[in-house]
Subunit: 205 residues, 2 copies
Amino acid sequence: MQQGTSKRDEIIRVGAALIHARGYNATGLQEILDRASVPKGSFYFYFRSKEEFGVEIIDHFASIVGGIFSRHLRNGSIAPLRRLEELFRFFEGYYKKQEFAGGCPIGNLSLEMADASERLRTKLAAVIREIIGTITACLQEGVGDGSLRPDLDAAGTAEFIFHAFEGALLHMKVAKSVEPLRAFRKHVFRYIGRREGEPQQQGGS
Amino acid sequence: MQQGTSKRDEIIRVGAALIHARGYNATGLQEILDRASVPKGSFYFYFRSKEEFGVEIIDHFASIVGGIFSRHLRNGSIAPLRRLEELFRFFEGYYKKQEFAGGCPIGNLSLEMADASERLRTKLAAVIREIIGTITACLQEGVGDGSLRPDLDAAGTAEFIFHAFEGALLHMKVAKSVEPLRAFRKHVFRYIGRREGEPQQQGGS
DNA sequence: ACATCATAATAGACCGGTCGTCTATAATGT
DNA sequence: ACATTATAGACGACCGGTCTATTATGATGT
């Protein structure tokens, strides 16, 4: 009985992987179903339409990506700025393993689907809002413990960091290189006040 | 009628607009050809394949986007930092007019096509490299005239600015709001050293 | 002027894949 | 026995990119 659900989950799992690799429009239902060994007709028993399925795929990605952000940024056992560092170091390792393919599934779907489906657009916007919220909370902790300037605009800075990260992932995907992620890390931490592996130098206040 | 070429250009013009609005995969040749009033069969007289056509579409976008960057950032009549400000102000106005639809055509195609076509990927990477180069040159001018720290890593900073900008456009597209672009401008100029919120100029437009 | 010929351009057939629907069947639980 | 849950896959209508055959066009040689 629980296996009934697992079949549905399998469609989502396989579909998410395929959509992450090829994109939403370039991925056909047939291919997903073939790989999941699920007959065509069953799809419309589990999902109302491809768009409906897309919403669930976004939920799936949101829980994975959001989970990574949360696990790192809410880890109370290390200092807030350090958490940020570890987070982006983690992503760098992950994407190196993937040979820079795929990129951010949320970013990919955002650019591909925002103008095509209002349903998916609002869903994606909510996911992004939450991720930025997680970063914001971490920065606020940094303000609280004195490692960041007391007048720091945590929400705006978190948003800016998210922008730079997404842009770096885009650049990484197209350049097939770690370099964009390196530049991102270096400048993000310089911006918020931490030097990375470099001689500290007066940044001229 | 030596506009044999103009017919070809018309296909590119119409195709670029459609691909900018809907994406590469979601745009069919048929729709492009219908709107350009060119029969289906003629397409393969002008272009070898859809991918070949894609390369030309990227060239088209590159000349438009690259042109905007160049026109602003190589304008010797105003100070380098001011050029950057005007550039992003210009984009903000443009996207407001478009109601935040479309986003950056280069960014869109990068995420959609980088893993699907090596041909398009390298082309897109080159376009991005050139844009970052234009920003780099502008920053170097700023270093030269003393408005930026002498030890500024111009190339890395330019790259970082590009990342943040692309990320902001992504966020703008999905949130359908100017706010991401506002946050981007505020933090970018805070990072490179210009204080915002202080009346420093009249909106010269 | 006329026939010839290469090229420019068009027309539409072609096959395969798309999403989505439909009916038929099998497993399950009460 | 029977409704419910799930599987099965054919089918339709349509649209995708590509190809081959055909027709305009225009230059050339006599």
